[in-house]
């Protein structure tokens, strides 16, 4: 695959292997364009333009409509757990600037009050965000961009951004808290709270908001890794399994998705699908 190439985008290091010079340039342009359009911290982003117009119909780009449609699909597939309408809740928890700029904040977090789960309207390229609701599409944008970047490679290789990794060909991957696995097909995504966390009002906060409480999740897991056919699918499933706490492993098993869970005490648990995958592969060799 050749020497991996790295650059920074979306607040994390992006690693690309197997790309030609023009493919590297195209992948960097793709990440930069998605970051410009979907960042909550870029005042000129399309996301912020849509959020600023909450309550009114806004015409959006084809790409924005596609990404919002994907986020709404993720919400349906997870019964609302991976919710793209939690931007205000993230700000209330203190995630109101690029993560690198976040420091300790003595103010306590103030919960966002919502009487009902209001729905986002999406009709073609027309979007209506209910008043008081702020979109945050981070639950799908980075992992989908990893998938789209991989599609720009003409041969075997991989693209990794933060915890999201998609591969063409096979790849041995290091897992959180030790251990390795060979990714034969698809993608791996890890969601957790060991990196994007900060203190607000003396309480540790993190970016995985539980839509049932509107506050950072109190899941027993620190990291959840899922193997999916696509990176965005793996990422959505990892977030849902994280938020479901002790029910996360069986939720993944029902869908046949391999999952690996790490607790704050560094205990590692895998679900049946993960175990079956490895046993089946070992039996075939």
């Amino acid at each position: 695959m050749g020497e991996p190439y790295t650059f920074r985008s979306m607040g994390c290091e992006v690693v690309v292997a197997g790309a030609s010079g023009p493919e590297r340039a195209a992948i960097e342009r793709l990440f930069a364009a998605r970051d410009r359009a979907f960042s909550r911290f870029n005042p000129d982003s399309e996301l912020n333009r849509v959020n600023a117009a909450a309550g009114a119909s806004v015409r959006v780009s084809q790409e924005f409509a596609h990404m919002l449609g994907l986020a709404l699909e993720a919400a349906r597939e997870t019964d609302g757990l991976v919710d793209p309408t939690l931007g205000a809740e993230l700000v209330a928890a203190g995630y109101d600037a690029d993560f690198a700029a976040l420091g300790g904040d003595p103010r306590s977090s103030s919960p966002v009050e919502r009487s009902t789960r209001e729905t986002v309207g999406l009709d073609g390229r027309s979007v209506v965000v209910p008043r008081g609701v702020q979109l945050d599409l981070n639950g799908v944008v980075k992992s989908r961009t990893v998938d789209d970047a991989l599609a720009l490679l003409s041969g075997e290789g991989f693209v990794s951004a933060g915890g999201d990794l998609a591969v063409r060909g096979t790849l041995v991957v290091a897992l959180p808290r030790g251990g390795t696995v060979r990714l034969v097909r698809g993608a791996l995504a890890t969601s957790g709270t060991d990196r994007r966390r900060w203190v607000r009002g003396g309480t540790v906060q993190h970016h995985l908001i539980d839509p049932r409480t509107g506050a950072p999740s109190s899941s027993p897991w620190e990291q959840v890794t899922v193997c999916g056919l696509t990176c965005v699918g793996a990422d959505v499933a990892a977030k849902a399994a994280f938020l479901l706490g002790s029910d996360g492993a069986s939720w993944l098993d029902v869908r046949g998705l391999p999952g690996r869970f790490v607790t704050a005490d560094d205990d590692v648990v895998v679900n049946h699908a993960w175990q079956r995958n490895l046993e089946r592969a070992a039996a075939c060799t």
Binding site: F158, V172, G256, N277
Partner: protein, 59 residues
């Protein structure tokens, strides 16, 4: 057969002519379900046979 009769017959039997009002295309329901299920499909893992080339860490 006269030219006129041939033309009339052709207009009736020509397969490209719509015989009923045109309807909008819609996605057949089984296909729609397959598309929806694609988001949460599983990949394939195997035991590692070499040192790692990449890592998945928390995003």
């Amino acid at each position: 057969m006269s030219v006129g009769a041939s033309m009339a017959l052709a207009r009736i039997t020509y397969a490209g002519h719509a015989k009923h009002p045109v309807r909008d295309l819609s996605i057949p329901q089984p296909l729609y379900r397959v598309v929806r299920q694609n988001l949460l499909q599983a990949g394939i893992l195997a035991p590692a046979t070499a040192p790692p080339d990449a890592a998945t860490s928390t995003s």
